[in-house]
Symmetry: C2
Subunit: 263 residues, 2 copies
Amino acid sequence: MYTPLILITNDDGYQAAGIQALARAVASLGEVYVVAPDGARSGAAAAITCTTPVSYSPIDKTLPFRKEMAGGFSCTGTPVDCVKLALEQIVPRKPDLLLSGINHGDNASVSVHYSGTMGAVYEGCMKEIPSIGLSLYLQRGQRYEDHPVSDDTLDAIAALCRRVLQQGLPQDVCLNINLPVAHKFRGWQVCRQARGRWSAEWISAGNPRGMESFWLTGQFTDLEPEASDTDFAALRAGYCSIVPVTVDTTAYQAMEAVDALTR
Amino acid sequence: MYTPLILITNDDGYQAAGIQALARAVASLGEVYVVAPDGARSGAAAAITCTTPVSYSPIDKTLPFRKEMAGGFSCTGTPVDCVKLALEQIVPRKPDLLLSGINHGDNASVSVHYSGTMGAVYEGCMKEIPSIGLSLYLQRGQRYEDHPVSDDTLDAIAALCRRVLQQGLPQDVCLNINLPVAHKFRGWQVCRQARGRWSAEWISAGNPRGMESFWLTGQFTDLEPEASDTDFAALRAGYCSIVPVTVDTTAYQAMEAVDALTR
């Protein structure tokens, strides 16, 4: 019987609790390789490293979650670098599935654009690998360790991965999954990306040397709080949201209006 | 008469020839602010800086292109950081137009996903500012300085910006413009993102200390070389391509198929 190859990465680094939970959850589905950043890459989006070389090294085999895997590597680059390096330098054949996460924090609504978790997923999708990003909707200040994804949610993730391994995903489409903090799995909801906006994004980091500096922070506003078909609506109702995401950025419905601007 | 405010950024840094040409081209359209990275941020995508503070400082007023502008600042962060900082800390009111570029290198097809130029454009779009990214399709090894955007192309860009200032852009839609290297402006072509693939992406950077490292590089393949309605088709024919890009990543046409996977 064919053993599927599953590549796992994230943007929180290989030591994060979320990627360890994910690797364990799908360990029985195939040959699992973890190739993840050597530390936090939150907010890396689909960034690639252009100005320095990138390298990778084996994850210590004594780590508990390392034992269940065919291979484990940490990488000095971004999540997208991890995927690119894994595909050309590390895994023995093309993966049948790419997973990214479980991110410590949500990537719903417009946050998908800043997400290193989803950057890696885009990369897998562009390489024609069924690719899924998973993120946990923690409130600010909440830690993954205090609100781990429940065992039955991890089982549901594994079951979904099994179906994707069997059936694949539509061309140029990957999945952006967000999970609510919950003791029990309530179900999946396939939905669209909510319209949202970040504001009040900077707080002073002081001015010790004559140049004021700022920490990026911010408040998120769901611009469609009444909608029932968005990722945030699903999360509010306690469901796990799945947004099918396309790597074709074209706004087809706007082509005529934009064409008129050029006449 | 109302004077529009135009915010300009890029991912090659404020000293790049491309941003200077762009700032000059639109200087007569309004009050121009440049807030751009202090050096190269190629491949930054929509990355944001989460692990260090970000700061900005005035661009030296003796720089030739600085004189034509209302304000000029360099920033230690990513292109998206530049936009976020500009909006909250620098410009006196909400910009009427955001421009990013002119990038030294194309951002057509799937390269849009890695593009710091377009990352800044997404950010402007999410903040409901009409936003346009501009990139020059240089071949590898070609320098902007040796193949500058022609004066009549810069005039066409300014004319398009004037129309966007008057009419705006559709909600959640921004523009990804790529320019061919050409002595004369042949016209605009509104098109879709070509399907494409990067491969052979790593070359060894040596192994001086027991850990092999790699430079990211790669070969791009247009997967639709026969298509006539893609950005690369337009560029090959000598036209300036305009892809209307949406910040709504939802693959609406795939929702039913994905829903079936959850049953």
